[in-house]
């Protein structure tokens, strides 16, 4: 995690001499940057052009023994032998010979046009590269009482060509700014007497920045240069409430007394299971502050954000699996990380096989059942999060989008707009193309076509429901992964559909109440349901596989009190829902038994992740055969939900926002589909 700051190879101060032109005034360490130097004719030039200098001396090749005529005015024109005059130029370092410990890096002439550039580049950060190095500088041009009206200078830093220079940019800018203002105020740089002071400054910069990454140099009585290099990280992505942070280092151990209070509180709840809003709730912190804290941790790259683990999630492999599958660290770490204690660790090929069986369209639960995952003793949550963290597994989100039959609906826009939406999502896997076409023609009973498409939503078929046994079987059989139009027809035939008349919400609620009791006895075969309804005593055991890491916080005590403060208290939540119900369902809502049942439920620990107070397990859109329970309970959906069905918000986000688990959300989407003329499509992305 340590940051690696590239080493400064050289610092030099270049100026524009009004007779000689651009030249290096000082460089530290000496001799690294060669400068063409006229050699007095008395000595034979014995320094051949250094091998590293990139500048080739001229077409005319002359033996190095020939004297170079000096351009000094002391030599009369007549005396210089024209034949010997170069065309050959000797390069030497300003001090006469290259410093013994290092070979010269490059020739100044290559970069002089960019170190002392024309007016267009002055006042801007300029980085130029030679074959092996990068030079970063900030050339300045100051107008003033100078002989040629301008004073030009540049302080440049030389690095290896491959170095990452982003953290030095502010340093270079600041140095230039400070020196420019010193020059403007007191002519610090242009006064000839100050050359030793400037030299000292350059030296100190070089030493301090390389050794300590910070420096404080006083220029004169009033000015000083204060610099500190901060490692430069990219800005973190925005933190969403549904993200689950996973700690990459032991955060709690590093908490110190002077830490921000929110941060200290929040850190304790980062366990790879809690999502952000839950952390805020558990830590008793304001959600905005919690988001900030998580954002900070993301910036420093000490945590990673994954998504909420649910059995209804779908994952898919990414392209990087091609090489990651061969990486030793992946192979070695996966097994131990994902296996529950007490079970033999499966070998990597087996795990890879399991990973490869994950596809969009197949939920985790289905996958588990199909490949008998629980028997292998694999903690599915850790298994999937391993893949996500290493980068070869990707969550496939569901993005519900509402398509009205008529274009006058406020949510979905005109047909062209819808087309646009789909064009934007390059990897839209839904059947939107086809459905769109068909729907526009017939603003028909949403039931049929919606149904067709909703079939895409492969949610875990809950064996609990006796209501839709065939749904359970038919859902998994819908074609997965390839959502091209051809498959529509397949679904058509598969779907036992034309959906019969849906049972009313009331029926469903009652059904759920009934089922709930059955749930408690149920085995992990229906993990989702148990997730939803864990009774207080089972708080510790919860869902298989979770225990390996952190105990899923389900303590009721924790929940009840803070809930009252921070969130809608359960009763209020219920009543919120109820109030929304009224305009939507025509039937009267007798707030009796279903509600009571709800209320009964609520004091029980609500599952944090799903957060559905009493989601009906059944997603009854495929409910067969009417249930005979007539009591109508309105379990309609919040009106805000409708607004968010624009294909931009995935179900996790909606779930967290409305505090509803997937089953409930699913149900709401169904209702929206049938309530308004139009359809709700799910896009997998």
């Amino acid at each position: 995690m340590g940051t690696f700051l590239p080493r400064i190879q050289s610092v030099f101060y270049a100026g524009f001499d009004e007779v000689a032109g651009p030249k290096i005034v000082f460089q530290v360490p000496e001799g690294l940057i060669t400068v063409p130097q006229p050699v007095p004719s008395s000595t034979f030039p014995s320094v051949p052009p250094t091998p590293l200098s990139e500048c080739t001396p001229t077409p005319a090749s002359l033996s190095p023994l020939l004297a170079v005529a000096s351009r000094n005015s002391s030599l009369s024109a007549a005396a210089s032998p024209i034949d010997f005059r170069p065309n050959s130029r000797n390069f030497s370092s300003p001090q006469g010979k290259a410093s013994s410990n290092q070979a010269p890096l490059f020739n100044f002439e290559e970069v002089s046009k960019l170190v002392i550039p024309g007016p267009a580049l002055c006042g801007r950060l300029v980085i130029c590269s030679t074959k092996r190095h990068r030079i970063m500088g900030f050339p300045s041009q100051l107008r003033g009482k100078y002989e040629r009206n301008f004073f030009r200078f540049n302080i440049c830093f030389v690095f290896e060509r491959t170095a990452d220079l982003s953290c030095y940019e502010p340093i270079v800018r600041k140095i230039s700014r400070v020196l420019a203002s010193c020059e403007e105020e007191s002519g610090f740089l242009s006064t000839p007497n100050n050359s030793s002071a400037i030299h000292a400054i350059i030296e100190q910069l070089y030493e301090d920045l390389n050794s300590y990454s910070e420096t404080s140099i006083s220029i004169d009585q009033f000015n000083s240069i204060e610099l500190k290099i901060f490692p430069f990280y990219p800005n973190p992505p925005p933190v969403k409430d549904w993200m689950v942070p996973i700690a990459l280092i032991n955060l709690v151990r590093r908490i110190e007394d002077n830490w921000d209070l929110t941060m200290a509180k929040v850190c304790r709840y980062i366990d790879g299971v809690n999502h952000v809003s839950r952390i805020a709730h558990l830590a008793d912190c304001d959600i905005k502050l919690t988001r900030e804290a998580i954002s900070h941790l993301l910036y420093y790259q000490v945590i990673m954000a994954v998504d909420i683990f649910q059995y209804s999630n779908m994952y898919t492999l990414r392209k990087s699996i091609q090489w990651l599958a061969d990486e030793s660290h992946v192979k070695e770490e996966c097994g131990p990380y994902s296996t529950k204690p007490g079970f033999p660790i499966p070998d990597w090929p087996q795990l890879l096989h399991l990973y490869s069986r994950m596809k969009p369209g197949r939920t985790v639960l289905e996958w588990m059942k199909e490949y008998n995952v629980p028997e292998l003793g694999i903690d599915v949550r850790r298994f999937t999060s391993f893949g996500v963290i290493k980068g070869f597994l990707r969550r496939v989100h569901r993005y519900p989008i509402f398509l009205p039959a008529h274009s006058s609906h406020p949510i979905s826009q005109s047909p062209t707009a819808i087309g646009n939406i789909y064009n934007r999502n390059e990897r839209v896997r839904s059947l939107t193309g086809i459905s769109f076409g068909s729907s526009m023609q017939s603003p028909e009973s949403p039931t049929q076509s919606q149904h067709l498409l909703r079939g895409r939503v492969t949610h875990t078929p809950i064996p609990a429901t006796s209501l839709s046994p065939d749904q359970a079987t038919s859902a998994p059989s819908t074609p997965r992964g390839n959502f091209n139009p051809a498959t529509i027809s397949v679904t058509d035939t598969n779907r036992p559909h034309t959906r019969p008349r849906q049972p009313s919400a009331a029926e469903r609620i009652l059904e759920s109440v009934r089922n709930r009791d059955q749930n408690f006895i149920r085995s992990p075969a229906s993990p989702r349901t148990s997730w939803l309804y864990s009774p207080p005593e089972s708080a510790a055991t919860v869902v298989p596989g979770i225990t390996a890491t952190a105990s899923t916080p389900r303590d009721s005590d924790n929940l009840n009190t803070p809930m009252a403060d921070h969130r809608l208290d359960p009763v209020a939540a219920v009543s919120r829902r109820q109030s929304l119900i009224a305009p939507l369902t025509p039937t009267n809502v007798p707030p009796n038994s279903p509600n009571i049942s709800r209320l009964v439920l609520n004091p029980a620990p609500r599952p944090r992740i799903e957060r559905s107070p009493s989601a009906p397990i059944t997603r009854g859109y495929n409910v067969m055969g009417g249930k005979s329970v007539p009591a109508p309970v309105p379990l309609a959906y919040p009106t805000d939900l409708l607004k968010l069905l624009d294909g931009e918000h995935h179900t996790d986000e909606l779930a967290v926002r409305f505090e509803a688990g997937w089953p409930l959300l699913d149900d709401w989407l169904t209702r929206i589909g049938e309530g308004h003329k139009g359809r709700v499509l799910i896009i997998y992305r």
Partner: protein, 302 residues
């Protein structure tokens, strides 16, 4: 090209960018090469390279950039500061540049400008002659033309008009046509100027004589009379036209144009109705101005 601080960029600023002479004091040193593209007569484009004169740049022109600098050159204009203290060094660089030029563009014309003449004490012609000899010697057998110039008087226009004149391919044709025009309007003289720079492109020959001080002579080998000699009006010239009228006209019109631009107006044309002559200056084509000078009092402006 020329030594650092010799006045190259000032000249360029004056003639090609239409700045007044006073504004050249604020120019900074030229970094490496600056280029101007000047459109002449519609489709003739002059690419003017103003090369910085500092040692580092000169060394680089003579070595690494040699081919770039000296290839495809039409005219080399080398500027000497008459007040330089390092004449030897200047001459040395000059010779090197001449070498480079003959190597890559042997057919280029060479003009030497001895600049900053306004700083020289009287007698100016003496100093000028001395310099001229020096540079003549340094040039070996390359044909050169020497002018003395200053940005504060019209001599600069004279020099540059000559320079540009060598580059115009059909100067003779233009002269002939101007003669025809002059005859047609019974004008004394018709002069063609370039629109932006107001350099003289061509003139009609005076009806009675071809004055030796005309700069329309296209042969560069003519020993041009020193600018600062005041030639007595030729006896053959009935109107006693001032020999330096062309450049003076250029200079004056340019100054007037600049004054107009300061009040955000544009100069279009000029008409002078004096008691002994009439002169009309107006746009001819998109790129040229023409001035017609008529001495016949009976002819009015059309």
């Amino acid at each position: 090209m020329g030594a650092s601080g010799s006045g190259k960029t000032s000249m360029r600023s004056l003639i090609f960018s239409n700045n007044p002479a006073s504004s050249t004091a604020r120019l900074g040193a030229t970094i490496d090469v600056e280029q101007n593209h000047v459109r002449f007569l519609g489709d003739l484009i002059l690419n003017l390279w103003d090369c910085g004169g500092q040692d580092a740049f000169m060394d680089s022109y003579l070595s690494t950039q040699r081919a770039t600098i000296f290839q495809h050159v039409g005219v080399l204009i080398y500027v000497f500061d008459i007040e330089t203290r390092e004449m030897n060094k200047d001459l040395e660089y000059y010779r090197d540049c001449l070498d480079g030029l003959t190597q890559y563009s042997p057919n280029a014309a060479v003009f030497l400008l001895v600049h900053k003449m306004d700083l020289v004490q009287e007698p100016k012609t003496l100093m000028f002659e001395r310099k001229r000899e020096e540079v003549q010697k340094a040039s070996g057998d390359v044909a050169i033309t020497v002018f003395g110039t200053s940005i504060y008087d019209e001599s600069l226009y004279r020099a540059w008009s000559s320079i540009v004149h060598t580059l115009i391919p059909n100067a003779e044709v233009l002269n002939k046509h101007l003669n025809i025009v002059a005859a047609a309007c019974s004008a004394t003289e018709v002069i063609l100027f370039e629109r932006t720079t107001f350099l003289v492109i061509a003139t009609s020959t005076l009806p009675s004589t071809s004055s030796p001080s005309e700069s329309s002579a296209s042969s560069p080998n003519n020993a041009t009379s020193p600018t600062y000699t005041f030639a007595p009006p030729s006896p053959l010239d009935p109107h006693q036209m001032h020999p330096k009228r062309y450049e003076r006209t250029s200079e004056l019109i340019k100054a007037f144009k600049w004054s107009c631009s300061r009040v955000r107006e544009e100069f279009h044309s000029l008409e002078l109705d004096m008691y002994d002559f009439t002169a009309v200056l107006d746009e001819m084509t998109r790129n040229t101005y023409v001035m017609v000078v008529v001495h016949d009092p009976t002819i009015g402006e059309a």
